[in-house]
């Protein structure tokens, strides 16, 4: 990654009359500090001017003890530069929504406001995201999570008292307290990521046209989840439906919120791993690796070469096992049970391997600051070789059994089409972004661990539909198997961990580390104050961004499609809720 030129940034900001403090912070990059009043014009300049930082990586807050620092983490893919825009807000101040500049901020802004006790203005849906009303702003330094705090209770306060007597169906959609907000006016110039755009379906099969003869039937509010079988966790989607057609959607999350970011502030750096495991529980290795990388960057520890190779090996094994849990249930969503059980053969064997090496099947706590927990055993080596032999055969089988099925193709093709611009605007990363034709992979473009030494390809598709997302992920599994083979064959000799202290006390500082998790760019932003636990840890959940994009794409689909569409985005609610 390159560092942007601070003088160019301050020059560009001066040109629009914004006085900004631009400085280069060690271990982090260029930080640009502006006043709240200037934040809108600053962000617009970053987005549209010569600076062209078109991608909002993340948006979060830090309680500095005197104020709330709102951090906009921006990226320019073309120049491979990151910049951090910090805006200092007083406690309880009003946060102006920037979603019209960076739509990716839609959900993170809501989270930021509720977690730091800010009010949100100019947002199309300014409700709380992860917690319900009455919860204290958890991420402020003074507040604590207590047992008696109802983090997520039934939404009794959502229904206004005067509406209680009236049934939902008697209300106009705009009035209904349960109704999804009217379709958000998408930003001009950005192709709507929704699937409403007319597309040519395969011959013989057509989607029901919207509003036949302007026939309007009564609209229903359908509460899908949190205990619905196909929401992949405890997600609740309020669907506004007209017959079978979805015309509005709103995602309710937070049922799994455990305050991982808050808890991290009370854990030592070495104890962050187990906490991160509980985020994306299907790909724990990657979340652990991100925290370890961030901690190492703060400590400036050199990781031995063998440890790096082991990290790649385990990360790729975990990627396959995670993709399998996407592949199987994706077929299940489309009504096909067979593929699910077929791939779980492989996953069982895979989990046995992971258990042999790490001792855990799900929560590994294997990646540690400085290296990995333990070395690979000869037995595990043999098992991996055996696994690779039959996996390469099974993956072709799987490709045919589900992806080759014509009914499955008719279901998946042209469903949930995200244009490249739409995907970038909503902050999609990983396979979802690559399926839309944008070729970016953290492993290749901002390499970490031993990825520079690996020989692999990054599968890309240009269709942007659910089928393209499937295709990209399936090809990713093949590439992962290739990398595992390389790791097993060429594992260098050496230590599996660097010598690090038992209690880590990184010097005060700030850093960001990102890994390519199976679901996209998983980032960890660490702020250290010199003590043995982080001052603030931000976990960038790639699937939160996928969820908000999916929420936008739902209107216009059918109920049957909505399940498949959300499934194709491959999210894990543990990570979304944290």
């Amino acid at each position: 990654m390159h560092t942007p030129d601070p003088t160019a940034i301050s020059g560009a900001l001066d040109a629009i009359g914004v006085s900004a403090g631009v400085e280069e912070v060690a271990k982090l990059g260029v930080v640009c500090r502006v006043a709240p009043a200037d934040s809108r014009s600053t962000l617009r300049a970053f987005k549209e001017g010569d600076l062209a930082f078109g991608f909002l990586v993340d948006l979060f807050g830090v309680d500095t003890g005197e104020a709330v620092d709102v951090v906009y983490h921006l990226r320019s893919f073309s120049r491979d530069e990151d910049v951090y825009v910090k805006v200092e807000h007083e406690y309880g101040a009003n946060l102006e929504s920037m979603w019209d500049i960076y739509p990716a901020g839609l959900m993170p802004e809501r989270e930021l406001a509720e977690m730091f006790g800010l009010t949100l203005s100019g947002h199309p849906n300014p409700r709380r995201l992860l917690t319900t009303d009455g919860c204290p702003p958890f991420l402020l330094k003074g507040s604590e999570i207590r047992a008696e705090d109802e983090v997520r209770h039934r939404e009794r306060q959502v229904v206004a008292p005067e509406n209680l007597e009236r049934t939902v169906s008697s209300l106009e959609p705009e009035q209904s307290p349960h109704a999804a907000p009217a379709k958000m006016p998408l930003q001009e110039g950005i192709a709507a990521p929704s699937a409403v755009q007319p597309v040519d379906l395969p011959a013989g099969l057509h989607r029901a046209p919207t509003g036949v003869d302007e026939l309007q039937t009564e609209r229903l509010i359908l509460s899908m989840g949190p205990q619905h079988p196909s929401t992949h966790g405890v997600l609740r989607i309020n669907l506004e439906i007209d017959g079978e057609e979805v015309i509005g959607s709103e995602c309710h999350i937070g049922y799994l919120h455990r305050g991982i970011e808050k808890l991290a502030e009370t854990r030592r750096f070495t104890a962050l791993g187990p906490l991160m495991d509980r985020g994306d529980y299907l790909a724990s290795m990657h979340a652990e690796l991100a925290t370890s990388l961030a901690t190492e960057q703060l400590l400036e520890v050199e990781v031995p070469r063998r440890a790096n190779w082991l990290r790649v090996l385990m990360g790729e094994l975990n990627r396959i096992s995670s993709h399998i849990v996407w592949y199987g249930p994706n077929g299940l969503d489309a009504g096909s049970m067979g593929p699910f059980l077929y791939v779980f053969r492989d996953r069982e064997y895979m989990l046995d391997i992971l258990e042999d090496i790490t001792g855990g099947r799900m929560m590994f706590n294997y990646m540690r600051p400085g290296g990995v927990l333990r070395d690979i055993t000869p037995e595990a080596d043999g098992k991996i070789r055996k696994f690779l032999k039959f996996f390469n055969q099974h993956i072709d089988e799987n490709d045919e059994i589900l992806m080759g099925n014509e009914i499955f193709q008719a279901r998946m093709k042209d469903l949930g089409v995200f244009s490249k611009e739409g995907a970038l605007a909503f902050g999609l990363t990983g396979g979802n972004l690559r399926a839309s034709g944008f070729d970016f992979d953290v492993r290749r473009d901002q390499p970490y661990a031993a990825y520079p030494e690996m020989d692999f390809e990054v599968p890309v598709s240009t269709d942007g539909d659910a089928y393209a997302r499937c295709r990209v992920r399936l090809d990713e599994m093949r590439q992962s198997a290739r990398m595992i083979q390389q790791c097993i064959d060429g594992l260098p000799e050496g230590d599996f961990t660097a010598k690090v202290a038992k209690v880590l006390r990184p010097p005060a500082g700030e850093t960001y580390a990102a890994v390519e998790s199976p679901r996209g760019e998983l980032g960890v932003h660490l702020v250290a104050d010199g003590s043995d636990s982080p001052y603030r840890m931000r976990y960038r959940p790639p699937t939160l961004f996928a969820l908000q994009a999916g929420e936008q794409a739902l209107p216009g689909t059918l109920i049957a499609d909505s399940v498949v569409l959300m499934g194709s985005l491959d999210f894990v609610l543990g990570e979304i809720d944290r």
């Binding site: 099969l205 057509h206 359908l222 489309a334 009504g335 059980l341 077929y342 109920i559």
Partner: protein, 339 residues
Amino acid sequence: MNIWLIAILRFLAALALMLVNGVVLIYMLRKVLGRLHVRLGPMDNGPWGLLQTPFDVLKLLSKEDPTPKAVDKALFWLAPAVVFVPSLMAYIALPFSNTWTIANLPLGLLFIFAVMSIIPLGILMAGWASNNKWSLLGAMRAVGAQVTYEVPMLMAALPVVMMAGSLNLGDIVNAQSGTVLWVIPNWYIWNVPAFILFFISGLIETGQTPFDMAEAESELVAGFATEYSSMRFGLLFLSEFSNTFIFAALLVTLFFGGWQLPWVPASALSAIGFLPPVLFVVKTYIVIFFLMVIRGTLPRVRVDQMLALGWKFLLPSSLAWLMVTGVLIKVSQVLAVGR
């Protein structure tokens, strides 16, 4: 014998057949799906898990049967019966052999279609009375499917009726005896387009996977049966398996020569009294096995895709094939006379 006694005994026979079928088919489904899905299916209760389904029936019978507060009670209680009874009635006309028929109806085929078309009414009642949006959606899908499959299914059966010259199922079976050109059994399966159209419509009728959207568990939780539990759920469940049996039996009757074997004279088979019914049931189960393989293999189509298939493909092609068959029959008659 007293005519009433005979009627009651025949009714009981149909009921027993339906219940036993249900239990056997559930076990078979579990085993077949298990094998297809690289697992074993039930193995713990009894040898090869044979007792699993009887235990399940016991469980369903002994479970508490709560009625949700907000349902329309009369309809809610009536609906399983409206689904179950037509399914039972359809057994009446099935020709297990020339002599083994519960009632030898002159319009047997039409009778089965007529009673089977009552079932979606019961499903709609169940879905509406449940006062549950998932149930309602499932019920609406079932009704949508019914209007889609019913006409093409009848149209696809009509070529067979024209060839046999009768709506009586026994006559249709008898018309398929003998061979063509000394080796090919004279079954109506050689009317391939009619067979394919009838088969696809039947898949929709029985709610088999690719067309099981009325209770698509990944979309609609359990569809119209969401609010049902205990034996009321059992009745809904049972009628579904019974429908599968009836469809398979119809397929055997119309296209695979019913209880007859190829190359064996019908009179020789009829001499052994129990053999034709056994053959009929075995053939039916073979068809059901293939239905289960389809169920374990294919994903589900979307509801609008199914409607498009029904209205834009099944209906026109079944009408067209009906006409073609009529012309072919006429031509063959003229040729036969000319010779």
